[in-house]
Symmetry: C2
Subunit: 538 residues, 2 copies
């Protein structure tokens, strides 16, 4: 049955889905409300909208348009939030850089992503200067001098606030011609040294922007503290989600427990997110002693299960800990450990054991399964049989930018393959047990063990190396390098680490070095699981 | 810039939007949770899913498939909820009939909508029997005998529960091939006597199913009482929305304040909706005296502003009254009177005056405007200049089934034209002042004044007639017939009303009759606004 012409989609009943409309709507409704708080700065929703339109206008004046990439090297400050709206308003693509990366990786990303403009905080001038010297591309640089931060070198001739001042506050504001158009490009450490560029589309960003607040219980009264970097999967899409409900964004340039506690109180924060290390730091901060907030604060974590000790420390402060699981490829949250009423009866250990599970799909996804890696069939829901987590739904990336092979691999067989190994419990909740890809998650950051290995192979004394995750109470995991030296050579743990610090972003460097013969299979493959057990036993 | 092939949408990252996935997801997650409560019956989410799949399977066995219409004459009972999932699962279209309609209108709808199957509650056997005798079409009848209701005549050879028992509990469950496919067909009284068939699509139902719970503050803990008929715009899409969050549906076959109060308490209801008459009845029920519920109950109303007396009566019972505005054409809620924090400072009258406004767009819409009817431009936001409310966004109907002209009229100039006249306040909130179409809203039901006029023109003593809305404390509005009798003829008010009751659904009959000369313009057009003033002054 074909649809007659008069019932085909039209402008008035078929609008392209895009988070751009969230800001437009909140600016219409919440005229006097704080949209963004940053130090002494406070922008209402109409002001945030105006600033985003000025940004779009200023970038258009620089020649930025449909499909162009604009990179941003910014901590959690208002310009990065504005970039999430002003850049896509041109049909351009936001590439938010991880501010912890080293210069050569940044150079690679600028080149690979084709950045035409780079907005950079003056704090990062030294590393960006180095990156720009390494990069083949030559993006136009806009410097942002944060009034709350010390002054730093300016690398370009354009100033962020001046550019905004020159922009048109009524710049046109329209969703893209096609909701499948790219909205952002987020580089993620994969199994190979070079990061892959995950492309998000407007449709997915819109749906994540609606579903994430729904899952996290957000309302117009929500006050959201930016303890999670906005450059991590666009802040798990809460850049768009908090704006969708008309909540308040509270910026945080740098994580510091004392500052966080002060903001939670002053701003009456209701929601925040963070890697386990963030929860850990809050739970163990001296200021936490005897502290209790008047308001209930929901804190979402992901990357690793929140330990019962952390939950036990945070509950008395009036935190409610929620456990999410996701990847950059799934726009952040893909599953949530949705609470079941009967769990209220359990003691702390029992509740922590439930919360430790990665859970069930968020409503923007259609399905999560744990597939047997040989048969490709779902494993039995026995809580014991291990398989790979695969996902499908409306909030899965378009693919990897300019990387046909990696995209094809990721999407093999009609699923997105996470590379994470898990079991399916009888109640339908999945629980991650291991990662099949060589990723170490340390302090919420992905580290490719292969990238660290490649760096170490350049060390003149190293014969063979395998890098594995070592469990760590503070960081979740840290890289542990298992090294075999060349015959007759010698090197110390400190020497290995120092070598890495010269070649890698510091957070990627091994914290532990084991000098050992590497265990291998009969076909010569390094048996990383044995090394992982050794690292764990240290 | 064209999208390279490897970045085109695929099954794993582009799922057709449909509320079907909500039920699938909630059945996976909420395995032991009450999805539907109806008298002594209680179905968990897996049971609701299974029953919906059995329904799909049973209908498939009767030859129902893609694009077919299945009508339902059901009060708020589990089968109508199941119909919202089981019918669209086949690509078929749910046509939920207004159970208050008269036989000839039902016959018209069955014919116009092309019903192939009719699921009917045995309570309505008398009127359906009459309708089937009048209809040209001959739908297959499935009788539903509600265990909580008195027995009634069975009109078909198939029983609802027996059909379900014969169905496959694992019937395939997939979103439609195209999210623009029709999901439901809702007939609405327009300005002409014959109702128009509003077509909803899966995409809009999905987005309304996400946005409505977000706007109404729903969570998995939500317990929703069905005081609103599910046949009204698919229950303002809460059939899908409550299922999306995994809340509990509490069925209510017939509205009765004492029963409602009992259910609110027993089931710990958190959310409900209703026309102003529902709020009125609850506020004025003798049982309301001194009553206060432990839990906060959010009650959404629409169709007319909740009066301050009703708000004053409901707040002490622990109700929070929310005011929505919408039409069948906008999937129910299109705007919401979103609360502003500063209104908390106002006294009751001040708060009621704010709440009386129809408000601002729900997040599923892109824009609402008040357009000057001559120039087509937005009226000034001065709270005084009247224009027509127009809407556009993702939750506007596909169009009117088999009605090209009405669809073209409704969508003229790139907007959906509501026909409602309103002002735009300086704060961006719109407020309905009048309706340009001849619609009377009585007890939450639309009544076409033209339909009542047409009926009265058949009366042998009537020369001329105009039917207008008369404000009514209980019903919101009631039809008032202004009649000029033929010279030498006589008739009483009771006679006019009795005549109408023979020709119309009873709720459409005039409650007041004015015998008068009809005021006319120089060109002979009846000046309804003068009659409206007269009716108001009675």
């Amino acid at each position: 049955m074909t649809t007659p012409n008069f019932l085909q989609p039209r402008e008035c009943n078929y609008q392209q889905l895009s988070p751009l409309t969230f800001l437009e709507r909140s600016a219409w409704i919440h005229r006097n409300k704080a949209a963004v708080v940053h130090g002494d700065q406070c922008f209402t929703y109409p002001e945030l909208f105006e600033r985003s339109r000025r940004l779009a206008s200023a970038l258009a004046g620089l020649g930025i348009g449909y499909g162009d990439t604009v990179s941003a090297m910014l901590p959690n400050v208002p310009p990065l939030l504005e970039a999430h709206f002003g850049i896509p308003a041109l049909g351009a693509v936001l590439n938010a850089l991880n501010i912890r990366l080293d210069a050569s990786t940044i150079a690679h990303i600028l080149d690979h992503g084709g950045a035409k403009v780079l907005i950079t905080d003056t704090e990062f001038a030294p590393i960006i200067k180095e990156a720009l010297a390494l990069a083949k591309s030559n993006p136009l640089v806009i410097d942002y001098a944060d009034p709350t931060a010390p002054e730093g070198e300016r690398l370009g001739t354009l100033d962020y606030e001046e550019s905004l001042a020159s922009g048109n506050p009524e710049h046109p504001w329209n969703p893209p011609a096609n909701e499948w158009d790219s909205i952002s490009l987020n580089y993620t450490s994969g199994t190979t040294g070079n990061p892959k560029g995950v492309l998000f589309h407007h449709r997915g960003a819109h749906l994540a922007g609606l579903c994430n607040p729904l899952t996290f219980g957000m309302t117009p009264e929500t006050v959201y503290l930016w303890t999670l970097p906005m450059f991590h999967c666009n802040g798990w899409c809460y850049t768009w989600g908090v704006t969708a409900v008309g909540g308040t964004h509270v910026c945080l340039r740098k994580f510091d427990p004392a500052r966080v506690f002060a903001l939670l109180q002053e701003q009456r924060v209701t929601h925040m997110c963070g890697a386990p290390i963030i929860l850990n730091a809050l739970a163990n901060a001296p200021e936490a002693e005897g502290l209790r907030f008047e308001q209930r604060i929901r804190i979402a974590t992901g990357g690793a299960a929140p330990p019962s000790t952390v939950i036990a420390a945070m509950e008395p402060m009036n935190f409610e800990v929620l456990h999410f699981y996701g990847l950059t490829e799934s726009y952040g949250p893909a599953t949530v450990c949705e609470w079941q009423a009967e769990w209220n009866e359990l003691d702390l250990q029992g509740r922590a054991a439930k919360t430790a599970r990665q859970g069930v799909i968020c409503p923007s996804l259609r399905e999560a399964q744990v597939l047997d890696q040989d048969s490709g069939q779902p494993v039995p829901a026995d809580g014991a049989t291990i398989g790979e987590i695969v996902l499908r739904g409306s909030t899965i990336m378009k693919g990897y930018h300019a990387n046909t092979t990696a995209t094809a691999d990721a999407f093999a067989g009609g699923w997105y393959h996470t590379g994470d190994l898990a079991v399916m419990h009888p109640d339908g909740y999945l629980e991650v047990k291991d990662r099949s890809k060589d990723i170490i998650i340390s302090g919420g950051e992905n580290i490719s063990s292969l990238e660290v290995e490649e760096a170490l192979y350049k060390h003149p004394a190293v014969l063979e190396v395998a890098v594995v995750a070592r469990p760590d109470e503070k960081w979740g995991e840290t890289p542990c390098a298992c090294v075999t030296l060349k015959p007759g050579q010698s090197e110390t743990e400190a020497g290995i680490v120092a070598f890495c610090r010269d070649h890698l972003a510091h957070y990627k460097c091994p914290r532990t070095v084991i000098f050992t013969e590497l265990p291998k299979t009969s076909t010569g493959k390094i048996q990383k699981h044995i090394l992982r057990e050794q690292a764990q036993a240290l």
